[in-house]
Amino acid sequence: MGIHSSKDKVCSLSKAVSRIEDGSIIAVGGNLSAREPMAIIREMIRQGKCNMHSIGGAHGVDIDLLCAGGVLRRVQNSYVGFEADFGLAPNYRRMVQQKKVIPKDTDCVAVLMQLRASVYGLPFMPMKLVTGTNILDLHPEYIVMTCPYTGEKLSLLPAVKPDWAIIHAHKSDPKGNIKLHPPYFADLLAIEASQNSIVSVEEIVSEEEMDKIGATVPYYEVTAVVELPFGAHPTSCYPDYTYDRKHLAEYVKLANRGEDVFRKEYLEKYVFGVKSHDEYLELVGGHDALEELTKWNQGTEKWCELLGRNL
């Protein structure tokens, strides 16, 4: 995990992201349309990061956008898509088919075991036998051994130690203690397994306040914290706000119209066209539109309206 003993972790977005080296293995937090570190991802694209390798479970717009922005070379995720709602991930799909991104499709359980090996400080983890699936063709590094105790066949998966975990969370204190509300997805594992972690948070609070609410992640596992309210937009960050389904619909629509359209009408506008996260928030509707996403807890009817509004 790396031990980060400094008690001053607060950092600007651009400085935090500048520390991530090209070619890094990254573990992106959140999943599907939930609590993905989208502001950090947009900054990685603006800074022209490239040749990276992601490892993780079921994801969506985060990995798709990292592909479109030229950041990822290898995608070792178990799922990249927009589910039944919006279908395939258009940029990921296109770049894989054009051989610009190498698919290293994996499985949620394999990700768990490989990160766990890193957490345990072990070179590999054994697992009940997995065979008969072509996922193994993409992973010659998974091997089978006979258990010296029981004689049964086991699959071995080598440790993966990400260089960076990239996470969006609810609160931190200046030291880097993190408060994360459930669902945790695999974020705690990703932070623990990684050498470094950047965590963007909705709010940086005082140490006294953090003492009161209790931290979920110890500060020494965290390299840098960046205060970015609505930093997960357009994904959700419950209980603070739900996801912006309308924005995602627009995203997928533009991405489905091809590389050029997506570059011109999405990347140039929402990523390269803004100088700061605040400018981005203005562009996606500003205070009123974002405030609306926080109203999911006003009752079932309002929640359904936010998630199901006509697109």
């Binding site: 898509g81 039944a84 709602d85 949620c108 697992m127 669902p183 594992l189 199901g308």
Partner: protein, 283 residues
């Protein structure tokens, strides 16, 4: 619960009922990604014949939720409503690896006669024609779970731009994401797999189980108005025909009313064709 207005049901509802009936009371059940129809089925089973089942709400890992509606994205926190406790995702995977997961629901962009599923790619690894999203946890959990239910809302044969018929149910899949009853050369025992694999299939036309001798899908029931010929026309392999093919047992009015209560946003209907949804079945 009001059963007024439930004088008919639709294909999504019939499928949800068929899928729910594959759950036994007390089963441990998990489901993850892109799964509004299985979520509907699981919640229905809970509220009818399987109240003692244990269900973790997808990747959020909340235990036994009772959501007021089903969301368009399966990672939405509404799936934590009344869930207690909220666990860590890995606790569910650990349980599956211990052999304690009774049932899970998987679909596939391609499904072969042995129940092998492809959610990874169309084409070959060297020449990927369509990159699909991926199998999430289905590749490994498919090896570990005691059984899984296969479901598909695309039991059809679309005509491609080149005039070829493209099946979901194919002789063999382009890529095995999740292993079914057997591969072309070995069954699950010979492979050394812990779990039993798929034991039933629910589609928009019919239900199958598997022939115990050959491990090939065996046509078991036909949905109202569907003929054996229609199933064969829309299937890219020859299924085994059971001696006693019957009409799919209809849902009850209570089940249909419950489904509409569980899923007031009609999330379960996403992906079905308009014409399929317009067809109304009388009780």
């Amino acid at each position: 619960m009001s059963i007024k207005g439930t004088d008919y049901y639709t294909i999504d509802e019939l499928m949800a009922v068929c899928m729910a009936r594959t759950i036994k009371n007390g089963d441990t059940i998990f489901n993850g990604v892109a799964v509004p129809l299985p979520f509907t089925a699981i919640m229905l089973a809970f509220k009818t014949h399987a109240p003692e089942s244990i269900f973790w709400s997808g990747l959020l890992a909340g235990l036994n939720p009772d959501p007021p509606f089903l969301p368009p994205t399966s990672g939405d926190s509404v799936m934590l409503h009344r869930a207690n406790p909220i666990l860590h995702l890995h606790q569910i995977f650990d349980l599956a690896m211990r052999g304690e997961l009774d049932r899970i629901f998987f679909s596939g962009a391609q499904i072969d006669k042995y129940g092998n599923l492809n959610n990874t790619l169309i084409g070959t690894l060297d020449n990927i024609k369509i990159k699909l999203p991926g199998g999430a946890g289905s590749s490994h959990i498919g090896c570990f779970a005691k059984n899984y239910t296969i479901w598909s809302i695309r039991h059809d044969a679309k005509v491609s731009s080149k005039g070829q018929r493209v099946f979901t149910f194919v002789e063999s899949v382009d890529f095995v994401t999740t292993v079914g009853r057997r591969t072309s050369t070995r069954n699950r025992d010979e492979l050394g797999l812990m779990g039993g694999g798929p034991d039933c299939v629910v589609t928009n036309l019919c239900t199958f189980d598997f022939d115990p001798l050959t491990d090939v899908m065996r046509l078991k029931t036909l949905h109202p108005g569907v003929t054996v010929e229609e199933v064969l026309e829309n299937t890219g392999f020859e299924p085994v025909l059971s001696d006693t093919i019957v009409e799919t047992p209809p849902p009850t009015k209570e089940e249909i009313a419950l489904i509409r209560e569980i899923d007031p946003m009609n999330t379960r209907k996403v992906g079905f064709s308009r014409s399929a949804l317009e067809k109304r079945y009388d009780f």
